[in-house]
């Protein structure tokens, strides 16, 4: 029988934890979500001799207080899933701050291995570290590593097995100097365990004002009032706990870590002098982002044509292969379901190229600087600095835009950004808009096109404020972020990152898209192949009373519904209904619609429901039907309200002329 060892990988953000994870497990990993959360969960496996080591990558956290979802996930996993071993990845060059997390983990678990990563940076800083002495003082095994170069990985695996077999680690206890007495008093009032949490840990967390622990103890303990008295005696208890932990760390590091009198100036600081400069930094950021945007979409255009031809050929082959089927299911598969799958597949180059750049930005450490530089601008839109890149890339296409929101740590910030992201007009929407504006306002088309961008920013601003206040009920998280040292990305890690994102996108978004596309095809082809009397146009007519105040006819409404599959499809649907395309379609529309209606239609199609591929991506990223449905209905209601108000303002002003 193989022995299974459960290992949890913990650590601060930016310590190379995912590098350690990827180097250890390679392609032998899978990505999902933590149950009911939008936070990514990664599990990987190592096979060694008679052992199967299962490694769960915990979210990167600075602490285990319940201040963020990530911290809660990490501590609940440690307590509830009871891993055999916790590997704590540390940045050797930032030991003082990194050991803070250790001080909390030690109160939950004994079998901890310290993976001392980034030993090369420690050296370049000219710090001297006595690893043996550190081991002795903490009574914990320490493995020095340079994970990006693959150094120390085998030693870590061997140590995991050794600790699993011996199971006799008794680490040094964390001391809280003058708070120790209060902690003991609280401990005496606590049972051995509160749920699964050991009492010392609970006592410390109560003093730290941990909201979840306080709720739990309030419910479960009779002596709560006595405890409450102890923890509320001093207002500054949380910061006293933090200070005491740092004092304990200082004591541990005394004699272990030696820093040079004069700090070596790191090249990171030399670069940052310019890159984070209020003027130079902004110029560098703009050049970089514009270049990435340009390269992403122009490289994609190069590859997408041959890819689409290939997908067409496969579609035709499929249709030949399925000739044994009756016409309806055959066309459903080839024109409906397959078209959806092909649409998602056609995103492959775009996602690959963009995530290549994103991985590089993230791995070099530049992404954090970009967030710093753009924080002021984004703040005026009511958003976090990290929202900049997802929003910019959305101008090309919302799909990678939504995927890029994963760089935001806070779950609420992320979902909010996902929802308002789709107000950014992507290229297909601008194509539809250009057609209408060109037909109705040939002289002012360009100027009116600019109003679309203004309206999209206004919508982001209004929705950001509104949703934050009414739906998420959070104030904006202030910028508080570490700027990691610049690093040269490891090609293997970058490739794994792209592969991981692409795989989950194709699988999960592909499934949703196949379904949506099949459904729309059925609606457009029931009861007959004629779109004019199809169910789709019936639905279009059903909504007519709602949209006729805007001057929309059923043809426009039907076009909007089919535009859900892909925004540019609304034009081809109009062509199918009117039986004309291009200029002729334009002439018919000129007779059928007023200019105000045409402009309102353009605005509505700009703001309403994101396209099906984006919806599928939203589902993939949020892992929640609830939020996906919310994103759809919110944008629909917002688009309707906005267009309605705009329409009547325009009607009012035109009556004055």
């Amino acid at each position: 029988m193989r022995k299974k060892i459960k290992v949890a990988l913990a650590g601060n953000p930016n310590v190379g934890k995912s590098t350690v994870f990827n180097q250890l497990t390679g392609l032998n990993q899978h990505t999902g979500n933590w149950p009911g959360k939008t936070v990514e969960k990664k599990i990987g496996y190592i096979e060694k001799d008679d052992y199967l080591i299962e490694i769960v990558d915990l979210p990167g956290t600075y602490s285990l207080t319940a201040q963020s979802l990530e911290e809660l996930i990490a501590r609940e996993f440690i307590v509830e899933e009871k891993p055999d071993i916790i590997v704590l990845v540390l940045d050797a060059s930032l030991l003082e701050r990194n050991l803070y997390l250790l001080s909390q983990i030690l109160e939950l678990h004994n079998n901890v291995i310290l993976a001392l990563n980034m030993m090369d940076i420690l050296e370049s800083k000219k710090y001297k570290l006595d690893i043996k002495m550190l081991e002795e003082k903490l009574k914990l095994p320490v493995i020095p590593m340079i994970a990006s170069k693959g150094k120390g990985l085998n030693e870590l695996i061997e140590k995991i097995i050794e600790i699993y077999e011996k199971d006799n680690i008794h680490p040094t206890k964390v001391k809280y100097s003058n708070l120790d007495e209060t902690i003991k008093k609280i401990e005496e009032l606590l049972p051995e365990k509160v749920q699964e949490y050991p009492k010392r840990w609970v006592a410390v967390k109560l003093l730290e004002n941990d909201p979840i622990m306080i709720e739990l103890c309030k419910k479960e303990l009779k002596d709560w009032s006595k405890i409450q008295e102890l923890i509320e005696k001093r207002e500054d208890n949380p910061v006293r706990i933090a200070t005491a932990r740092y004092e304990w760390i200082k004591e541990i590091l005394n004699g272990v870590l030696e820093k040079p009198k004069k700090q070596a100036i790191l090249w990171t600081d030399k670069i940052d002098e310019y890159v984070t400069h209020p003027v130079w930094g902004l110029i560098i950021a703009l050049i970089l982002v514009v270049t990435i945007f340009y390269l992403t979409f122009s490289l994609n255009n190069l590859i997408s044509d041959p890819l689409e031809n290939l997908l067409d050929i496969i579609g035709k082959k499929l249709s030949i292969l399925l000739t044994f089927l009756p016409e309806f299911p055959r066309r459903l598969i080839t024109e409906g379901v397959w078209q959806g799958v092909a649409t998602i597949l056609s995103f492959t180059p775009l996602i690959t190229i963009f995530f290549f750049f994103l991985a590089i930005l993230e791995d070099t450490g530049y992404l954090a600087r970009l967030a710093f530089i753009t924080d002021r601008i984004m703040h005026s839109l009511g958003l976090h600095g990290k929202s900049f890149l997802p929003l910019v890339i959305s101008f090309g296409c919302n799909v990678p835009g939504v995927m890029a929101t994963r760089t935001l740590e806070d779950e609420k910030d992320r979902i909010l950004l996902i929802i308002i992201d789709s107000f950014i007009p992507c290229v297909p929407r601008i194509l539809v808009a250009s057609f209408f504006l060109g037909v109705f306002f040939p002289k002012y088309a360009f100027l009116l096109l600019i109003t679309l961008y203004i309206i999209s920013f206004i919508s982001i601003y209004i929705s950001g404020k509104l949703l934050r206040k009414k739906v998420f009920k959070t104030s904006m998280n202030p910028l508080l972020m570490e700027l990691p040292i610049y690093k040269i990305p490891n090609p293997k890690i970058v490739l794994l990152y792209i592969w991981d994102k692409l795989k989950s996108f194709l699988l999960r978004a592909g499934t949703v898209m196949a379904f949506l596309s099949g459904l729309t095809w059925i609606l457009a082809n029931i009861p007959s192949g004629n779109i004019e009397n199809s169910l789709l146009s019936q639905i279009g007519k059903l909504f007519l009373p709602l949209v006729s105040p805007l001057g929309f006819n059923w043809q426009l409404t039907t076009a909007l519904i089919s535009g859900f599959v892909a925004k540019e499809a609304s034009l081809s649907t109009l062509s199918a209904i009117y039986g004309h395309s291009g200029n002729e379609l334009g002439n018919i529309l000129l007779k059928d619609l007023s200019p105000i209606t045409a402009y309102s239609f353009v605005i509505f199609q700009l703001l309403y429901i994101p396209c099906a591929a984006t919806v599928a991506t939203i589902y993939k990223e949020t892992n929640s039907i609830k939020w996906t449905a919310f994103a759809i209905f919110y944008s629909l209601i917002y688009a309707y309200t906005f267009t309605f108000v705009l329409y009547y303002i325009l009607v009012f002003f035109s009556s004055l002329l």
Binding site: P238, V239, T268, M481, E482
Partner: protein, 80 residues
């Protein structure tokens, strides 16, 4: 001289005196190394957010946070 972090000049050094705000905010800052008594160096100033060096780390702090941290700044030659 005690100043708010946001009022410090680029390149100035000092010691954190206290942090004004709720328990959660103070704890969050403490977890990232900003505790009373700690040495702090203002590395970069932008239109709002700042970058400080503290406990070997470079931290970016938003305007609001930088307003709530009080620092005893090392004496300068010229004082105004």
């Amino acid at each position: 001289m005690i100043k708010k972090l946001i009022e410090m000049e680029k390149g100035e050094k000092g010691k954190v005196v206290s942090i004004i705000g709720g328990k959660g905010k103070i704890l969050r800052l403490a977890e990232l190394g900003i505790t009373p008594g700690e040495e702090i160096f203002l590395f970069q100033k932008s239109l709002g957010p700042v970058i400080v060096k503290i406990k070997d780390t470079n931290l970016a702090l938003g305007k609001g946070l930088a307003e709530s941290i009080l620092v005893e700044v090392e004496n300068h030659e010229k004082e105004d």
